[in-house]
Amino acid sequence: MSSPSPATAVIADAADATGSVSLRGITKIFGSATAVDSIDLEVRSGEFISLLGPSGCGKTTLLRMIAGFEHPDAGDIVVGGQSVVDLPPHKRPVNTVFQSYALFPHMTVAENVAYGLRQKRVPKSEIAQRVHDSLGLAQMVSFADRKPSTLSGGQQQRVALARALVNRPKVLLLDEPMSALDRKLREEMQIELKLLQKELGITFIFVTHDQQEALSMSDRVVVMQSGSVQQIGSTEDVYLKPANEFVAGFIGKQNFIDASVSGTDALVAADGTFAVSSLPSGAREGSEVRAAIRAEAVHVSAQRPAGGGLEGTLAGISFLGDAIQYVVVTSSGLELIARATPDRAEPLGTGDTVWCSWDASELRVFEAA
């Protein structure tokens, strides 16, 4: 679906219209549980934004409020400059790719894709043209007369995508659309979907609990936890500059080290002292902090590095394919995970005494919870 075609141009009309989305103080309460807690979010037109967070953090609920299936208990939703919060789903300029695809089982693939156009009473010949173009984008033209039940999960997902895109929505909402696909197919679809989104210029709001998926596709990522936003930022930002301990722990493979502040540029941990380049604003001499260091930033060596480091015993080595992972246990019992690309790896064996070191600028320091 990455090939530029006249079909793309037909559907990309949507890019002319503004597809910005503003969420202002959106709150949703189910019984006694707050599923979404006062969320503010500005999504730019044509942006690919991901809602990322663990299961149950309110991603689906937030998406359903944008689509109109749930009504927020407080707050406003503005799409393309117009408040839609009181509009029923069928009057909102957004379309959804559902997690379960929700294809109509009694209709063929082409009838499924035509459904939205028929509701808008688009002339029959135009319907045929647009359905054909949209199925072409999804590479599903040859399946037009099949019933959804005869398709594989990946094919159903493409149909669901075509069925949403054929309506030329300003905003496309996607709720974990890849979760039912196997790994290889998922990675292919991630690339295709990203390219398609760029071509069409439609705003994508993409829900996922998979950080790798969010990072590989998005312009910006919204990290959520228990109904509230933890960080909104570019993929680099949330990866390299996590705003807090939760984001740091959720994205990438992080090591956490409890320590206390010593002076303005050093931390004292149970296993030694190491330098830091920045401290949280509230940190004073002796205050308890948590330092976070990504596994890829940790370097394991047999010799004590010049700048010092933490000494430990190499407890395990595992080959991950694109990386080698070391597990180092220090004398205080702290477990450090380090990852190196196979070509950079030193010849080490389990049981060896090793040193873990890192660049001070890679270390993030958070106030202890």
Binding site: F69, S100, G116
Partner: protein, 321 residues
């Protein structure tokens, strides 16, 4: 021999040979109730009725004889009364089924979609409550309600809604009301199950694609509930066509339904041969009616599908399908 050394008493039953034999016949044994039921309560009685219908009533004291076989009872059965009553019955059956459908679609939808799931078991129980009472007693209850001197009649007169007494009992209208009341749950339940099983996701997808609730109902909810609608219509229409209790209790002497004619041949006239011929005709007529309505439904479905069809091959430059 001490007690603790005694072999378990069940040992002979589980010898390898016995187990193997049971393995071979196991499925047939499990199926026994089903085919026994079908044979003894359906095939045999139906065969007897068919057999009797070719016989005759020999004298005043015998209900049937089969020493001379003929189709004369069928000729005898197909008189003007029978035909007229059949049309009456068909009208009550079709109208009754349609009324049940018209009530059940919104009600089952409400039950499956709108009602708080917490109250659903209670609502379903209330739908079924009438079934806890005998069919005849329930129908007699309507006799009291519709009676010209009953409380409903009095109340309506006091409210000034009708002048004079309520004049519904012992009319075709009362029978119509009675059958709708008696068979309504048989329509509600399969419809409820069908709508409930379709789940909310497809209705949401429909709304997401721009369909308002009526179009969602027409394009998604009802087509998916079609098997439930079909089974509900069959469950209501077939027993309703053969019902004679409702008509006897509420239709009175006007004898509106064909089941009564059959019953009176068996019970009053003691002419089993003629009664059997009428019963066979009734079954054939019901089967014919079901076939005709089924055919109409298929035609409607074909039209709906044609209206929905998307033909991608039409005048597409370089159409790849």
């Amino acid at each position: 021999m001490t007690t603790d050394a005694a072999p378990p008493t069940t040992a002979p039953r589980s010898t390898p040979r016995a187990r193997r034999r049971r393995g071979i016949t196991g499925y047939e044994a499990l199926g026994f109730p089903t085919w026994a039921y079908v044979v003894f309560f359906f095939v045999v009685p139906l065969g007897l009725v068919l057999w009797y219908s070719f016989g005759y009533k020999p004298d005043l004291f015998n209900a049937h004889a089969n020493d001379v076989l003929s189709l004369d009872r069928y000729v005898e059965a197909l008189d003007a009364t029978f035909i007229g009553t059949f049309w009456n019955t068909l009208r009550i059956g079709v109208v009754g089924t349609l009324i049940c459908l018209a009530i059940s679609v919104p009600f089952a939808y409400w039950l499956a979609v709108k009602l708080n799931p917490k109250w659903r078991p209670l609502a379903l129980a209330l739908v079924l409550v009438p079934f806890w009472t005998n069919f005849l007693v329930r129908t007699l209850g309507w006799q009291i309600i519709l009676s010209p001197r009953g409380f409903v009649s009095d109340a309506l007169q006091n409210l000034g809604i009708i002048d004079g007494r309520l004049d519904v009992l012992y009319t075709a209208g009362a029978v119509q009301l009675g059958v709708v009341y008696n068979y309504l749950p048989l329509m509600i339940l399969p419809l409820y199950v069908a709508i409930d099983r379709a789940g909310p996701a497809l209705r949401e997808a429909s709304a997401d694609l721009g369909a308002n609730r009526w179009r969602t109902l027409w394009n998604v909810t009802l087509p998916l509930a079609a098997p439930g609608i079909a089974s509900g219509c069959l469950l209501v229409f077939i027993p309703l066509m053969g019902d004679y209790i409702t008509a006897s209790v509420l239709g009175g002497a006007q004898g509106n339904m064909i089941g009564q004619l059959v019953a009176s041949q068996f019970n009053t006239a003691q002419n089993w041969a003629l009664g059997s011929a009428m019963a066979v005709l009734l079954m054939l007529f019901i089967a014919g009616a079901v076939a005709i309505f089924g055919g109409i439904a298929l035609i409607v479905r074909a039209f709906v599908r044609r209206a929905r069809r998307v033909d991608l091959d039409v005048e597409l430059p370089g159409g790849a399908s």
